[in-house]
Amino acid sequence: MENAKINGSQLFVLIVLFEMGSAILFNLGGEAKQDAWIAILLGLLGGILLFLIYYRLYKFFPDLPLTSYAQKIMGKWIGKIIGFLYIIYFLYIAARVLRDFGALLVSAIYTTTPLFVINTLMMLTIFYAIHKGIEVIARVGQFYIMVIYLLAIVGFILIISSGEIHWGNLLPIYENGWKPIFKAVIGQTLTFPFGEMIVCTMLLPFVNDQKKAKWACLGGMILAGINITITVIINISVLGVIPLSRSSFPLLNTIGRIEIAEFIERLDVFFMIYLVIAGFFKVTIFYYAAVAGSADLFQLKNQRIITYPIGLLILIASLTIAESYSEHVVEGLKYAPYFIHWPMQIILPIILLIIAFIRYNKKGSSPSGEQGNQGNQGN
């Protein structure tokens, strides 16, 4: 593992960028129709509960990432298998996000450019960031969050002054009762984006102030949740429910509606800037988690050795993960949440936490003492 430290505010910025990430681009909670924003807020609540589980695990082992403490909790071999599964999982999501992002660029703007070129160039940039380490990534985040907020504020003012917002589109609330909302929460908003906080189990050991870590994460989640909610509300009220459900990239369509004085129009650049920044951070953080995890699991002193092979894996996976964009979306919305996200984000961490409680709390010994002993045995 890298010997670097980030501070509370840097973690906060990374969490905000990571959580907002690609979630803003898609029709999140679309099953709940005009109530999508409720589904997102409920997803946020569930996500906070999930985070508290991860945080409790972190409190047991403040200096260790998930891949290490899984071995302490479950024993060496089962723990190693779990750690390995998580590395694969991070790799998989990184590849998914890269594909999402590349496909978006190809279908919306670069219709004649091959996906391979778009993804490769993105991956090269990300590779450079990973090469420079978590400190540099966090600093770039601090810089880019200002850019994103500037864009968001300008875009918000422009869309309001274009007179495209129709609040009526949000009504009626609870048209079809709670069922579709819960379906959207369980099937989507809980696991994407809020359950993806599982990645913070790999980042928290890098934070120099343990007390601030909790509030940085919670604050980041809440701020990102609010931002996503505002975006979804604007999307619904600008586009309307039915056009929204047909649109692959609602935010792009919403921005396309901006038109002021026949001069300020087609602000696709805004969308693209956001897209590149968000895609960059989301892939980078998953990629980093995978790299740090493997360095930890295979006890590599220099994690730079595996940076390149893992990056290549992500790139290839992002291209071969699905035949077409629609297949990719169906996989992502129908199967991934139940068969991949739920076990990795919710079930496994709960099992780990229960066993950790049984092992460390019943004996009445402090986990740090245990940790030291086991560390010696391991050596």
Binding site: L105, I109, I118, L121, T125, V136, A138, F263, V269
Partner: protein, 534 residues
């Protein structure tokens, strides 16, 4: 690879051997001291200097003993030495019972700072740096008198860093003048100057200047260590030192700051930075240097804060224009025509219709032409320079458009970029934007805005990974420091800039006292006399 390293090793070994042998010769006890016989001493000096013709020997007689004064013509003050001989030595009558060496010492006191030397190595150090040596037959000592007085350039107005309200003096090539210019501004005993000599052949004088108690001790120590580590034959300009002590060579951005203005250096010292003065260079290097510092001009602090903030924002904007101007044009016209408002697009398209090149080639040709013109204009003698600029204006403007090589829009883009580039106050930062501009142009021509954005992200990652003497290069922005924001995009009023930047200086942070906000006298009694501070 191995051949190369072997060769290098051998070369190093050879060099070490040479040095070692010379060192051994010097180390022999009979070679280390000044001899009693004056003829032998003179013979030896002449031999070691190869009978150089600018070496002057003036013989004199003191009582019964022969003596010689040795100095280098041009380095030592001729006038002073002649006066000394005329008035003091020639018509002196001395009692031969006295210790004649003491007599000589008493007489030379009038010339300047004196000291007695016995070691042979000091002999050369002495007169090669402008001092005069007095030998007296029969004594194994010599008197070293400080008579430095070579032709100096007068203090003139700065030529590369201009300011409207700032002082008009600038550094010269003499280190002593430069230290005096700084000390005149900071009359504090805490302003420390540590001398050093770098360059095995040139023996260049270096001065490390900092304010004790404000500068961070760790940085001062680091600077000294990096300077001590330097092993090079010559230091001809502060640029040598700069390149040998910077944190990273593989970067396009300057991680040390240099200035020819004493007021800038003084203000940097007051913020806790360390200045490195190099003899024979009118540019003083200061470290650590942060990215945002290259957009701060001295005028920002001499005019009121609202105006200086606006101008600083303008400067940052123009840096961005210089950085991405042509690439934005290329990206918009080749990939994203839909983002240009229709009427403007029609105007551009109509102009570009007759141009035979794609936008990238067009932009590239124009930019390169302009860079050539600029470089040529810089090197040409002043009388010819004007002719070049007229030819340049005609070639890259009028004629190129009329011949149909380039579109008028392209000329506009290139000229705006060029002018914007000149508004960056420090040349070393402006030139890095000039270089990176071409890379961004290539990226924009391959993938439009996407390529441009990735290029900018790449540069951002690079900038965030840089350090200058251990301080993160993008410091008040990333890592973000709320307190540091007082002098970044917005220049706070002087009374509101209460503290020195915490990340540079350590310890004594307070810059202003309490209650410094000026106001009209009616507001309160205790503020009546502070109205003139703003």
């Amino acid at each position: 690879m191995s051949i190369l390293s072997n060769w290098r090793k051998n070369k190093n070994k050879k060099r070490q051997n040479d040095n070692y042998r010379q060192e051994l010769d010097r180390q022999k006890p009979e070679n280390q001291v000044i001899l009693r016989n004056i003829d032998e001493n003179i013979f030896r000096i002449k031999g070691e200097l190869g009978n150089s013709s600018d070496l002057v020997f003036r013989d004199f007689k003191l009582g019964s003993l022969r003596g010689t004064a040795i100095y280098i013509d041009g380095l030592a003050d001729n006038q002073m030495i002649s006066d000394f001989f005329l008035e003091s030595i020639s018509d002196s009558k001395v009692d031969s019972n006295q210790n004649l060496f003491e007599v000589l010492m008493r007489k030379t006191i009038g010339l300047g700072n004196i000291q007695t030397i016995t070691n042979w190595n000091e002999v050369f150090d002495s007169f090669l740096s402008g001092n005069t040596l007095f030998f007296l037959d029969g004594y194994n000592r010599a008197i070293d008198v400080e008579t430095k007085g070579w032709e100096k350039r007068a203090i003139t107005e700065p030529t590369s860093q201009l300011s409207i309200r700032g002082p008009r003096d600038s550094f010269t090539e003499t280190i002593r003048t430069n230290t005096a210019l700084i000390r005149r501004r900071i009359k504090s005993p805490n302003l420390w100057l540590e001398p050093m000599k770098i360059g095995t052949v040139t023996q260049t004088d270096i001065g490390i200047m900092y304010i004790k108690g404000i500068a961070n001790e760790k940085i001062v120590k680091e600077v000294k260590e990096r300077l001590k580590r330097i092993d090079i034959d010559s230091v001809l300009s502060s640029g040598y030192i700069e390149q040998l002590i910077e944190d990273q060579t593989w970067t396009n951005f300057p991680t040390t700051y240099h200035s020819e203005r004493p007021d800038i250096v003084a203000s940097q010292l007051l913020e806790g930075r360390v200045a490195i003065l190099v003899d024979s260079s009118p540019f003083v290097v200061t470290v650590p240097a942060l990215f945002i510092q290259f957009f701060q001009s001295p005028d920002d602090y001499y005019s009121r804060f609202d105006i200086s903030t606006a101008i600083r924002l303008l400067r940052i904007l123009s840096f961005f224009i210089a950085f991405i101007g042509p690439s934005l044009y290329i990206a918009a016209t080749t990939f994203h025509q839909e983002m240009i408002p229709t009427t403007l697009l029609i105007a551009i398209a109509a102009q570009r219709e007759a141009v035979p090149f794609p936008a990238f080639v067009e932009a590239f040709i124009m930019e390169v032409t302009f860079e050539i013109l600029r470089e040529a204009g810089l090197r040409l003698p002043r009388a010819v320079g004007q002719a070049v600029s007229i030819v340049g204006a005609l070639v890259i403007g009028q004629a190129a458009v009329q011949a149909g090589f380039v579109s008028p829009v392209m000329v506009i883009v290139v000229s705006i970029t060029a002018i914007a580039n000149f508004s960056t106050p420090v040349f070393s930062m402006a030139i890095s934007a000039r270089l990176l501009r071409f890379i961004l142009m290539i990226l924009a021509s391959i993938l439009g805005f996407y390529g441009l954005l990735l290029g900018i992200t790449f540069i951002m990652i690079h900038l965030c990974s840089l350090r200058s003497f251990g301080i993160p290069y993008m410091m008040p922005l990333a890592p973000f420091s709320l307190r540091g924001q007082q002098d970044v995009f917005i220049r706070f009023p002087i009374w509101a800039m209460k503290n020195r930047p915490k990340f540079i200086s350590k310890g004594n942070l307070a810059r202003t006292g309490e209650n410094q906000k000026p106001g009209p006298p009616s507001q309160g009694q205790d503020q009546t006399n502070k109205g003139d501070q703003g």
